[in-house]
C-alpha cells in the first residue's frame, strides 16, 4: 500500500511542469520558441608605440543571431540557427622589431570588411530514457566555407540521477584567401586548401543532491589539412593538430538566496604544445519571478605553441608563427547580464570586458606578444514563445 502511494506521488510529481528533472534536458519542447540577439564588440586599437606599420584600428564586429525551435510531435523537436557576422578594421599580419629591438605589431594597411553567414539545424528525437540529436551546419564567408554534421545523444540511468552523454562531429572546410592570384598583391598566398576537423566527446552528469549537480566530460578534436594563417607575413604550422579538453561543471542552487552558481572549468592541451586552463563563473541571481541578474567572471591562461616565435624572421625556415593566439598569455573577462521576463517574452542586456596580457598568465612570460587583444562587448536579446 505504501509503495502504491509512493508511486502515485511520484507520478503526480513527474506530471508537474519542470519536475521531470534529469541532469540534462530530457523532453522535446512543447511550444514554438524564437530568440534574437544583437551583439556588438570592438577590439581596442593597437597601441601606437607597439605598432610598427599599418592601421591601429582593429576589428569592430556586429553579430545578429536568430533562433527558431519547434516541436515536431510529442517526442521530437527541431532548432534552426542563423548567424550573420560583419567585421571591419585592421588585423595583425606579423610581429617585427622596432628601433629599440622590441616586438611591435605589423598591422594590415587598410581596413578589411568581411562578413560571415552561419546556418545550422538540430533535430532531436526523445525516447523513454534517452535522446539522440542530428545536427548539420554550413558557414560561409568570402574566403572560407565549412560544412559540418554531428550526432550526439544522452542516456539517463540510475533513476535518472545520472546521464551519460556522447557525440561525434565532422567538419569539412575550404580556405580560399583573397588577393592570391598571379596578378594580385599576394601571389605567394595559397589558392584553395582543405581542412578537416573531427570531434569526439563523452561525458557523465550526476545529480548529487536536491540542489547540486556536476558534469565531467572529455572532448578530443583532431584537425588535418591547411592549418596556417594565409594572411600572416610568415606563418607555417603543422598540417595536423590534436586537441584534448577535460571539462568539469558544477551547478548549485541556493534556495535561501534564490540564486544559482555555475562553475565551468577546462584543462586543455594539444599536439602543438599548448596547455590552457579556463575557469568560468556565473552567478544567476533571481529577483522575484521576473528579473534575473547574472554577474560573470572568466579566467584563461595558456602556454605557447612549440613553434611560436615572439617576432618574425623572413630567413627562418621550418614551422613558425608569431600569432598572438599561439603565444603565452592570460586573459580575464568580467561581465553582467540583466534579463527581464514578461509573460512568455524575455528581454536581455549584457556587457562584457575582455583583457589579455602576459602578466595574467599562470606562468611567467619573458616577451609579451604586442598583438594581444582587448575588447568590450554589448548584447541585446529578445526571446518569446507561443
Amino acid at each position: 500500500m505504501k509503495n502504491k502511494t509512493l508511486m502515485a506521488l511520484t507520478a503526480a510529481a513527474l506530471a508537474l511542469p519542470g519536475m521531470n528533472q534529469k541532469s540534462e534536458a530530457s523532453e522535446a519542447i512543447t511550444d514554438f520558441q524564437w530568440g534574437y540577439q544583437l551583439t556588438t564588440y570592438q577590439e581596442e586599437d593597437s597601441v601606437k608605440n607597439k605598432t610598427l606599420l599599418g592601421d591601429v584600428e582593429r576589428y569592430d564586429i556586429q553579430v545578429h543571431q536568430l533562433q527558431f525551435a519547434s516541436p515536431l510531435g510529442e517526442q521530437r523537436d527541431v532548432t534552426l540557427n542563423v548567424t550573420t557576422e560583419t567585421m571591419s578594421g585592421a588585423s595583425p599580419m606579423g610581429i617585427g622589431r622596432d628601433a629599440n629591438n622590441k616586438s611591435a605589431v605589423i598591422m594590415s594597411g587598410a581596413s578589411i570588411d568581411e562578413s560571415r553567414q552561419d546556418y545550422s539545424a538540430n533535430l532531436r528525437q526523445f525516447f523513454k530514457s534517452s535522446d539522440v540529436a542530428l545536427s548539420v551546419g554550413y558557414s560561409i564567408e568570402d574566403d572560407y566555407q565549412a560544412l559540418s554534421a554531428g550526432l550526439s545523444g544522452n542516456k539517463h540511468v540510475n533513476n535518472d540521477l545520472t546521464t551519460l552523454s556522447g557525440g561525434i562531429s565532422l567538419s569539412s572546410d575550404g580556405i580560399t584567401p583573397v588577393e592570391s592570384g598571379v596578378n594580385d598583391r599576394f601571389p605567394e598566398r595559397i589558392d584553395d586548401e582543405p581542412k578537416v576537423s573531427r570531434t569526439l566527446f563523452a561525458g557523465v552528469s550526476q545529480i548529487i543532491n536536491r540542489s547540486l549537480a556536476v558534469q565531467l566530460a572529455v572532448n578530443v578534436t583532431s584537425h588535418s589539412g591547411f592549418l596556417s594563417d594565409p594572411y600572416k607575413l610568415r606563418d607555417q604550422r603543422p598540417e595536423s593538430r590534436d586537441q584534448w579538453s577535460f571539462i568539469g561543471k558544477i551547478r548549485y542552487f541556493s534556495r535561501k538566496l534564490n540564486a544559482a552558481l555555475k562553475v565551468d572549468a577546462r584543462w586543455y592541451n594539444d599536439s602543438w604544445g599548448i596547455n590552457a586552463q579556463t575557469v568560468d563563473l556565473k552567478w544567476h541571481q533571481n529577483i522575484g519571478q521576473a528579473i534575473k541578474v547574472i554577474p560573470t567572471f572568466r579566467y584563461y591562461s595558456q602556454s605557447q605553441a612549440n613553434f611560436y616565435y615572439s617576432s618574425d624572421d623572413l630567413s627562418r625556415t621550418g614551422f613558425q608563427s608569431s600569432d598572438y593566439r599561439l603565444s603565452p598569455y592570460g586573459a580575464m573577462t568580467v561581465g553582467i547580464k540583466w534579463i527581464t521576463k514578461f509573460k512568455d517574452w524575455s528581454l536581455s542586456l549584457a556587457w562584457e570586458n575582455y583583457q589579455s596580457s602576459a602578466s595574467l598568465a599562470l606562468k611567467p612570460v619573458s616577451v609579451e606578444n604586442p598583438a594581444l587583444v582587448q575588447f568590450t562587448r554589448l548584447s541585446f536579446g529578445l526571446t518569446g514563445k507561443f
Binding site: G18, E24, Q67, D173, F201, V204, I247, R251, Y268
Partner: protein, 68 residues
Amino acid sequence: MSRYLLIASLVIVAGCSPVKAWQRGDLSHQEMQFNGDSLDARLNSHIYFSKEGASGEASIGGGGCGCN
C-alpha cells in the same frame, strides 16, 4: 589526468544521496542546465575560438571559420 578524473568520479559517487523526483524543483531551474542559454553559448564559443589558442566544449562543435 585520468587518475584525477577517477578520484573525482569516486568522490562524486560517494557524495550522492537519493533525490526523488518531487525533490528536484531546484534542479529544474533553467540556469541549472549544463548547456544553458544556447544563443549566448554559441556566441561565447565562437568568440573565444577566434581569439584564443584553446577550444573544446562538453558537446559537439559546428564547423570552423576563417577567424582562426
